[in-house]
């Protein structure tokens, strides 16, 4: 067990360096002089030289990579060139990460709960009405682009009916609110984005849960349990679910990348002020340093999530360490 975690940790560190290097080279394949991108059009040659000096652009590529790695580990992501001119990127990120974590946290928890529930009911009543309805529901949302569903929600509930705010993560005078009002205001702004986000990623969990549980329910030990006279409720909850949840955990880990895609779309449509919308602003403003920092942040988030899932998995299924 311990050697397994150790091995996984070594891989984690290697992959981390690979991601940093990949992120560095990804932004070097674009044509042109990096200094020209960092300095506004009107910028003079002296300014460009200064930028070259600060980002070590005159050195060979590998030396630049070395400096980049050092910068990343000291939390220095450089300076934003488009979204917030000349602001340190590390100071921009803080509040956005907070907003995104709230949205993703609530949404993912709800999606896992609902997805597992729907998949469980569908598998248990395979071929019955509940199965058809549950899977139909899941498949439609699985096939619906997140942005489209989010837009329809926005149009109906925020636009036509006016029940919820049209945009933003908080109201404009948020900073003058009392603590309770602040929480209420956030919750009010979160309703629609969370619904859009949850339904979209729930579908995949429901489908996997159903498939995995139907598989387990055909196994011999379930027949044995039935023959012993174990009540059906107990067969489902105590015997089948434990094994059926294993593939679901794997899929959850892999789908973290998918989850991030979902937040980007939801945040853009609802103008929710998080990392996804910031990514979008960076793309629109061709703010490459900011984009680079954001991509690194998201890649590391996925990496860590996978690492945690691996560890959790070994507790659920001790066979994998052998």
């Amino acid at each position: 067990m311990r050697s397994f975690i150790l091995r996984k940790s070594v891989y984690l560190v290697i992959t981390l360096f690979a991601i940093i290097a990949f992120n560095f080279f990804l932004f070097r394949i674009m044509p042109g002089d990096p200094a020209a991108v960092l300095v506004p059009r009107s910028g003079d040659e002296a300014l460009k030289a200064l930028v070259r000096e600060r980002f070590h652009l005159n050195d060979p590529l590998l030396t630049q990579l070395y400096y980049y790695i050092i910068q990343v580990f000291s939390g220095d992501f450089g300076v934003s060139t488009g979204v917030l001119k000349n602001a340190e990127i590390s100071t921009i990120l803080g509040p956005k990460i907070f907003n995104t974590v709230i949205l993703v946290g609530i949404g993912t928890a709800l999606a896992i709960y609902l997805g597992v529930l729907i998949g469980k009911v569908a598998a248990w009543r395979r071929g019955k009405l509940a199965d058809t309805l549950g899977m139909g529901f899941a498949l439609v949302f699985y096939s619906m682009p997140t942005f489209l569903f989010a837009l329809v929600l926005l149009m109906v509930f925020a636009g036509t009916l006016g029940w919820f705010p049209l945009k933003g993560a908080t109201s404009q005078d948020y900073n003058e609110f009392s603590l309770m009002d602040k929480i209420g205001d956030r919750a009010y702004h979160l309703v629609l984005p969370v619904i859009a986000f949850t339904l979209e990623i729930m579908a995949e969990f429901a489908i996997i849960m159903r498939n995995s549980l139907t598989d387990v329910l055909t196994e011999d030990y379930i027949t044995t349990a039935r023959a012993k006279g174990v009540p059906s409720k107990s067969i489902l909850n105590d015997h089948a679910m434990k094994n059926a949840l294993l593939p679901v955990v794997t899929v959850m880990a892999i789908s973290v990348g998918w989850v991030l895609g979902g937040t980007i779309m939801v945040e853009i449509v609802f103008s929710y002020d998080g990392l996804g919308k910031l990514t979008w602003d960076a793309v629109l403003n061709l703010d490459y340093p900011l984009l680079q920092a954001l991509f690194l942040l998201m890649a590391i988030a996925v990496l860590v999530a996978n690492f945690v899932a691996d560890i959790v998995y070994t507790y659920l299924d001790p066979r994998v360490t052998i």
Binding site: Y11, I14, T15, A18, I19, F22, L26, F27, I29, M30, L139, V140, Y142, S143, M144, P145, F147, L148, L151, L154, M155, G159, T160, T214, D215, L217, T218, I254, V256, G257, W258, L260, G261, I264, M265, I268, T279, W280, V283, L286, L291, L294, F295, M298, A299, A301, V302, L303, N306
Partner: protein, 310 residues
């Protein structure tokens, strides 16, 4: 003689597979819808009411005195300006929504099929190499696969598109090279079990080389499992294309459902209830992705006999 016997067996197998596939009602209806989409893509110029919806000459002008203002709701009377009929109305610059939706089928299918072809070719060769040659090759290739598996591919696509530029070909390439890791994993695990079987050993004993064994023995056995995954990858590719287009990272010269929705969103269709402008491309995306998913799951059922008995 041997050839005809082989051919007869192949036909028999195909017939059996087809029968199982047909008995899966959802998968079969998805298949029918896909055939309809393919038909639309091929015959779009004959089925549409406006031959080249993106041409300036095919666009409607705003004719206030005649009661013609873009976007125009669905109407079956010919327009006073160009003489075209617009059964699903027009968009903000007077392009026919019905014809654009038909032409959009082409972009979606092209991206879906070609991008998936890239993914599968990459994934299959990496998976084959890793599984067949084992040892260091396996270790290195699988570490690379794991690396690409953890890269968040949505942000990766955004970043790559904004670096490479808005060309249709880049949309295909970017979607293609972000989708291969899952195929590589599936192929590798299948190769690992196949290469231990006796018939591989026999083939090697009579002097077959690596290339021959991979082509003649391993690949045919990996194919069925890959097939279902491939169909699911297509739906993901179509999804990604719609996403990139919707956020303005696609090629603006190509008519696609994603860019139609983008134009609708940017020009206030969602605020002004211009439902005809949104629902046609929106439903088309959902229907196509759903059909590919249904066919994919059905194929999974057919190709995996273990699942069939439940």
């Amino acid at each position: 003689m041997v050839q005809t016997e082989k051919y007869r067996l192949m036909v028999k197998n195909a017939k059996k597979t087809w029968k199982v596939f047909r008995s899966n009602r959802l998968g079969f209806s998805g298949f029918i819808v896909l055939i309809a989409f393919a038909f639309i893509a091929v015959f779009a110029p004959w089925l549409s009411t406006v031959p080249q919806p993106n041409n300036i000459g095919s666009m409607e002008d705003n004719l206030l005195d005649l009661g013609w203002v873009n976007p125009l709701p669905p109407s079956f009377s010919p327009s006073p300006y160009t003489g075209f009929v617009h059964p699903l109305g027009t968009d903000h610059i007077g392009r026919d929504v019905y014809s654009m939706t038909l032409y959009g089928t082409r972009a979606s299918l092209e991206v879906g099929l070609i991008a998936t072809l890239i993914s599968v070719a990459l994934g299959a060769s990496i998976g084959l190499g890793a599984g067949y040659f084992g040892r260091v090759t396996d270790e290195v290739l699988m570490r690379v696969t794991d690396f690409f598996l953890v890269l968040p591919w949505f942000p990766l696509m955004i970043v790559m598109m904004s670096i490479l530029g808005k060309e249709f070909i880049w949309v295909i390439v970017v979607i293609g090279i972000t989708g291969w890791p899952s195929t590589a994993r599936i192929v590798r695990s299948q190769v690992l079990t196949i290469k231990e079987r006796q018939f591989i050993e026999r083939a090697r004993a009579v002097g077959a080389g690596d290339g021959h064994i991979i082509r003649k023995h391993i690949l045919p056995n990996v194919m069925p499992l890959m097939f279902a995954n491939t169909v699911l990858l297509i739906s993901l590719a179509i999804f990604s294309e719609a996403f990139l287009d919707f956020f303005g990272l696609g090629d603006p010269r190509v008519i696609s459902w994603g860019s139609m929705l983008e134009a609708a969103y940017a020009n206030g269709a969602f605020d002004n209830n211009a439902w005809w402008w949104i629902s046609a491309p929106g439903l088309a995306i959902v229907l196509m992705v759903l059909s590919f998913s249904l066919v994919g799951y059905a194929l999974d059922d057919v190709m995996n006999p273990k699942l069939r008995r439940r």
